[in-house]
């Protein structure tokens, strides 16, 4: 991985943060990016939480990878999350590899990179850390928090932890507790990384070698889970990479094979293998229901936030059923909640793709909140 992460926005958090694992961290960096302008009353801020493989560069060109931001389809001037209207903030999660405190940072006690000596972090730790940035920016109440997948989990944790810190929340394609299937799939990815001899128990930074093969396989496996059977069949079917006959070898005969290989190889250029271990672990440990002794409704008991839960019909990783459990819990405690399942063949990845019904719903919900806040001001 080749990154120059010096010229990005960073907040060094001076306060100490007690992690769920029992350790305490302080003076740690949080890398973040903002888009649009914060209004005078500081009421137009939208905090976006990124997913497993995302980072703070939501839109425009990512200055490190030189690729488009991961949510360019939804965020920007005139887009669903309109940066002409909203002040968009996104923070690289704790454990990440785009400048925030993670396994690629130097351990001040040893002077060496953390690697696997980095503490195991949780979704709650990530969210608590990001709150320091809000305090730093002087934002008392956000207009919205949103995110898909692991981003959605952070939305749930944030609204549970801070019942009156955001007017609205849009958890997308997520779950209140990570399912056995999802833990299994994450474990598959981690084992692929750890089985790569270059991983070297997480100390690969001491050598010139990186566990690129393991990380690429982890990404390939994960990528399949982000799509749907129907989507794959329609896009690739049995199409061959080179027209004509099969090669009778183990080269990538099928287009789907070379597509996955490509996904794997571009991923290793921008992502750190140890970060992948830490972040997937944080997802696995996420169980908001357990945090509240088995009653998810208690997680939102004090909430003043207006929710809009969105799921996708072909998402089998975070199926509608799991999203609906969140809706049921919110209803059970009398919270203000709307819910819609968007029809899409694009699987879990739908939230990152051009799915017009989804983008429209996102846009219209945010605009309705914007109008409500501004009408309130007039009264």
């Amino acid at each position: 991985m080749n990154t120059n992460i010096k010229n990005i926005k960073k907040l060094i958090v001076n306060q100490s943060l007690d992690l769920d694992c029992g350790k305490t961290i302080k003076n740690f960096p949080l890398a973040y990016e903002t888009y649009g302008a914060l209004n005078k009353n500081k009421t137009n801020a939208v905090l976006i939480f990124h997913a497993l493989s995302g980072d703070q560069f939501v839109t425009h060109i990512n200055p490190i990878t030189k690729m488009k931001g991961w949510w360019t389809i939804a965020v920007g001037p005139g887009k669903a999350i309109d940066t002409n209207k909203f002040f968009v903030i996104c923070v690289n999660v704790l454990g990440g590899c785009m400048g925030s405190f993670g396994p690629r940072e130097i351990n001040p006690e040893t002077g060496e990179l953390f690697g696997t000596t980095f503490p195991v972090i949780t979704i709650k730790d990530m969210v608590k850390a990001q709150n320091y940035l809000l305090e730093h920016l002087g934002i008392n109440k956000l207009l919205a928090v949103t995110g898909g997948s692991m981003g959605g989990m952070q939305v749930l944790q944030f609204t549970s932890l801070f019942p009156d810190k955001t007017y609205s929340a849009i958890p997308i394609a997520c779950s209140a507790s990570h399912s056995a299937q999802n833990i299994a799939l994450n474990e598959l990815g981690r084992q692929a990384i750890m089985a790569d001899p270059n991983w070297n128990k997480g100390n690969y930074f001491k050598t010139d070698l990186s566990p690129n093969k393991g990380l690429a396989i982890a990404r390939m496996a994960a990528h399949i889970t982000y799509l749907s059977d129907k989507g794959l069949q329609e896009k690739f079917g049995r199409k061959l990479q080179v027209k004509g006959n099969l090669k009778f070898s183990f080269d990538a005969d099928f287009q789907i094979e070379s597509y996955l290989r490509h996904q794997g190889s571009v991923f290793v250029d921008r992502f750190d293998a140890n970060s992948y271990l830490y972040i997937t672990r944080a997802m696995d440990y996420f169980d908001l229901t357990k945090q509240f002794d088995g009653n998810l409704a208690s997680a939102f008991e004090k909430t003043k936030t207006k929710f809009c839960v969105i799921s996708f019909s072909s998402d089998w990783l975070y199926p509608t059923r799991e999203n609906k459990e969140i809706v049921i819990a919110l209803n059970a405690c009398g919270a203000n909640v709307g819910f819609v399942e968007i029809n899409s063949d694009k699987g879990h990845d739908s939230f990152l793709l051009d799915v017009p019904e989804f983008l429209k719903t996102l846009n219209e919900f945010l605009n309705s909140i914007y109008n409500e806040i501004n009408n309130e001001k007039r009264i």
Partner: protein, 197 residues
């Protein structure tokens, strides 16, 4: 807004919590929210209508009342509204039970199958009736369990459901149903609107 919704909104007091079952595009919800400061929620099975509601800033959940009502706590709403949908459920009695559980009071409206035009069509034409309130053919109607105003009142007394208000609607005109005018109202009303608990 149609007359039926005006009548329903007049029954509902200001600043109360309301759940609208089968809220459609949210017309009634919007009226209650902005004119009567009601705290409103909706449940609607059709995706495109749910999206319309969300666009208006209304909190609507996509779902089917026969499956979803169980998630709402007991007496969590001051009013639960069910407009002209009771007859479309597989188990209207079970749905009604849920409505009464969730709402301190429940407002139910039903298209009256005892309306004289309905009776005459069946009697003289010998075909399934089609009217303004029952616009579909027998083969594509969503209505599974049609009833008359009399049927509904009988049902309430059988199930010990208290009727606080019974109104009927004919050609935009609203009037009250009493024990004395029941037979007459059951013939001449297109719609019955009941406040029950």
């Amino acid at each position: 807004m149609k007359k039926e919704f005006k009548v329903i909104s007049q029954i509902i007091q200001n600043d109360k919590r309301v759940l609208d079952i089968g809220c459609g595009d949210g017309t009634l919800m919007e009226y209650l929210k902005f004119n009567q400061q009601n705290d409103v929620r909706g449940l609607e099975p059709q995706k495109d209508l749910v999206q319309k509601c969300i666009a208006k800033g209304l909190s609507v959940i996509e779902g089917n009342a026969e499956k979803e009502l169980i998630q709402f706590p007991k007496k969590s709403f001051d009013y639960v509204v069910l407009s002209q949908t009771l007859q479309a459920f597989l188990f209207p009695d079970k749905v009604l039970e849920q409505l009464l559980r969730i709402g301190k009071q429940t407002i139910v409206s039903i298209p009256n199958f005892g309306y004289w035009k309905v009776r005459l069509q069946l009697l003289f034409k010998g075909t399934m009736p089609m009217t303004k309130n029952l616009p579909n053919e027998w083969y594509n109607t969503p209505n599974l369990h049609m009833c008359t105003i009399q049927d509904f009142v009988n049902f309430c007394s059988k199930k010990n459901i208290q009727i606080d208000k019974s109104l009927c609607l004919t050609n935009e005109k609203i009037s009250e149903i009493t024990n004395n005018n029941m037979i007459y109202k059951n013939i001449f009303s297109q719609l019955g609107i009941f406040l029950i608990q």
